[in-house]
Symmetry: D2
Subunit: 315 residues, 4 copies
């Protein structure tokens, strides 16, 4: 009860063109911590306030983009139940069980492809590592933040925004099978009945994943990491500029979710976000609807217009 079922976005697996500059970006600029490398050369990373072993997986590949996104569920029993329900839903394909240990410190994962073409995973077990939470010892008398942080230093991996075609199918899967709530939606079309954006939450966060309807399959718009304040968004902008990181837009505010944001690109062209703010979502909260004539303000509340790159640049 309370929080159960799907708990959170547990990992995002990102393809990068070269590992070395990617690590410089994710470790020195963003400030994630490397926790493991495996025989394939994959690098596993976590943010400072995450207790689990990793939340970001980098893999060298010929093309940038997202391999898959993983969701932590509350127990092995829930994993079995949700896997069965996903299979039974008729909405997904390419089911697979990935054995425990394929990700370090992680139990078995159930993998499937959703209607928008993205690969998702569910898993129930991942080791808690180290002296998390900036504690003096293992979770005893912690300091509010750890000493020695580097770079932007977000506290957690937060969500992804993904582009795909069958938005209806994916929304049906997340809301009817996986238990997510719809926090906000963007509606278009002659009668305002065509959903073109869905912001979905399995928590009190304004979104844990979001999808935009685009005539593509399996595209990755951005992976987002959370900061503690708007001042940290400014500081992020300063750090990005110091490293001559390519900034897409921001600092600014989103209309959707109210988040305070800056978008930028990793060296392979994958978009990242760091953001702060937003509201406390509850499943009984009325859905917020944005109409397409206000799409600009929905996405970037200050400018009230979408920059060219928002819709055209993804990996």
């Amino acid at each position: 009860m309370a929080l159960s079922g799907v708990l959170r976005p547990g990992h995002v697996a990102i393809r990068v063109l070269e590992m070395e500059p990617a690590l410089k970006h994710y470790v020195q600029v963003i400030g994630l911590q490397e926790t493991a490398r495996d025989a394939q050369g994959r690098v596993f990373l976590k943010a400072w306030d995450e207790h689990d072993h990793h939340s970001v997986v980098l893999r060298e590949a010929d093309e940038a983009g997202m391999d898959y996104m993983g969701w932590k569920v509350d127990s092995p029993a829930t994993l079995k139940r949700l896997a069965a329900q996903v299979e039974a839903s008729g909405l997904c394909s390419d089911f697979a069980w990935i054995p425990a240990g394929e990700h370090p410190a992680t139990g078995e994962r159930f993998r499937f492809t959703i209607p928008t073409g993205h690969v998702m995973e569910l898993y129930a077990e991942r080791e808690v590592i180290g002296n998390c939470c900036g504690t003096d010892g293992p979770d005893v008398n912690p300091t509010p933040w750890p000493d020695g942080l580097t770079g932007i230093a977000p506290s957690r991996f937060d969500h992804c925004l993904l582009y795909g075609d069958d938005l209806d199918g994916t929304v049906k899967l997340f809301t009817e099978v996986l238990g997510f709530g719809m926090a906000e939606q963007v509606m278009a079309g002659p009668d305002g009945k065509l959903m073109i954006g869905a912001f979905l939450s399995c928590s009190n966060k304004a979104h844990d994943v979001a999808f935009i309807r685009q005539p593509v399959k399996n595209k990755f718009h951005h992976a987002s990491f959370i900061l503690g304040s708007w001042e940290q968004v400014l500081r992020a902008g300063d750090i990005l500029s110091r490293h001559k990181t390519s900034i897409d837009i921001g600092p600014t505010r989103h209309g959707i979710t109210r988040g305070e944001t800056i978008y930028f690109f990793d060296p392979s062209g994958n978009r990242n976000e760091v953001f702060s703010g937003g509201y406390i979502y509850y499943p009984d909260k009325p859905v917020i609807t944005w109409t397409d004539n206000e799409l600009g303000a929905a996405i970037f509340y200050h400018d009230r217009k979408i920059n060219e790159a928002f819709l055209s640049v993804f990996t």
Copy 2:
């Protein structure tokens, strides 16, 4: 799934010695909005980002303190189920069903007394009112915050901190019957095995209710409202001083929950808090433990000592 069962602290009913100065405090200084008065003279209030009809109930009485705290659950079926489980738990007493309409715009409530002597309620239905969330219309194309806010203007009622004797019983009730997680605990005693503080969450918030072991029954330490930033905590302090409101302590940071806080008193002597910050809690997060030799830092992280009033002043 996701968020289910007990969703949130839905209301706190506070006794005030005189209604007029109390309203000046809760409406003009804190910035809550009056949504109803009833025949008994009770006044119902909400914060600007709450969609439900009310979250604070004020009642004139000879003695200050808290009458009861109410919890919104996800459905009438859950209300029935949890009511039965509370009754069956053997931990509570004084069960009662309060009929729908006794609170305006609210369905029936199940009332019971918990081991620390506090009266709690569960309810499943409350009307959503007005153009909530600062929207231009009903939840369409909202602004990030509404125009015309007054006073401190927290976005939501957030939690209560309560004092009582049978902490073990109350913790057992909240964790084993009501589905809460223990985010942080304070341990004392010769071997560190005596729990003297419990910070409990039914959400991603670091706490939805907290209890401190004290040799009393049914005492009220504070009701807390959430702000969006540490700068708003400063502004709250300025507004409190302008109105010559009695400040207990702050602005400062809590070690427990990491929250940035200011404590103050309503004209009847009930303590209020406005705060910002904290972390994202998950039920699989390791419990944070504070030892009693670090109790000062746990409560007020900067001073590292508890002010006299923290333990001795309550209603």
Copy 3:
């Protein structure tokens, strides 16, 4: 001694195409206070933390832009002395003494045209009005900010950025005759010897006026108002969007001066800025130099590129 001579930018006189929407913008959106209107229909405004009678003058005209900028000097004797020195410098033209009272509550002003074609004024006397500085009474036991502020509510008019051709002459005037220091300069040309931007200070502020070399005379880039924090810059962006005010760029940071900024337009197309931050300037501080290959970062530090409008849109 200490601060003497030219004290500060005392007023900016702006032409607007229609007074009513201009006042809605400067009063309701920016949050200036109207302090007088005169027989010509000019409207005089001040910001909340200014003690002088006015700092902004609006005049209805067929063309937007700046009529003139006025500088408060420390005494009538200094006014006489600086007027004589300006005349004697051989750098200026169109000298005139404007009689006391032509601006309400203001003594006589010495007017002249500087090498970049802008009209400047010096004056020594302006009445202090009202209960300034948020005080309970006339400057006794003040609150840190006044109750009842509306709109963005900057505390002061801060500086102007102006475009013109004879940058060398104007810089010579301000530094050699009027006693300003050069805080920062932008250098271009084949050998980096051509100054294209000058940021000039008569105070501890990073700039009180700035000039950019452009092949025009007497052009107005923006008038700027100061805020207390980066969070207030965010709030400004929110208020501008709520009122559908046209935003030019921001929130972002300037490389030059380190200021945190948002640019926007009044209904007549005059650019305004609200900003926070910057450093404490001293006349013995080494001049900061920006090279033209880093001009993007100099102007907008995060994007590292100048938006099209920065150079092409002015009034």
Copy 4:
């Protein structure tokens, strides 16, 4: 013109009981940078945004306190002129010329004792060192803040607050001889005519030095360093607590100057402050007066009462 005469507080010389813990405090906790040690064992320090060689001098001694405070003036000619005027004023004693080089990288200093018993110095020359201002090279294309800062990292030494008996004499000296303005005053006594506090500015800052009337000579209340935001004051509190530094009071706001502050002690018991905010002072700004019945709010605006230590603890 503009800023001339006495420019700023250039250095404060503090006595510490043991150098090693003092350096741990001033370097690791506060985040000053050591720039020199001399044969006497004195250590010279500067803050990151100061261009001069040093601003803090630590000396090991049997008793904590302030040896002297030094003021940078605009030129050797001004130094001679002000030295003569101080001598001629009849207000000071113990005149001495300290030869160039007695402080590293510093010209000759004129030393004298003021009516409250404090030792002050004037000097005109100090070398600019290093790549100041976070620049990539010597003041070319700087970043807004340097990489690799440690501790609280204030940008500058800002002011001192001093306790002494002959407040009238000291105020006369600073305002009539040294060219300071009175920004704020605290008045007490039966008819409100006894000045008990004076906040004096030689700049646009709300204070460069302040004096409180107390029946003592030559006492040191605190040396203060400036931060860029209220969020940095919170972060300072966190860092102080992490290092178990003794905090006196704060974070809170001063009524006087509006500054946002935290007071703490170095290991020798000398009080330090870091603060942000305040307003832009001008010499023609009306003096703000605080009456002694509002002294609490004047000092600590939120609590509206002075903590015991404010008046009784000094070195």
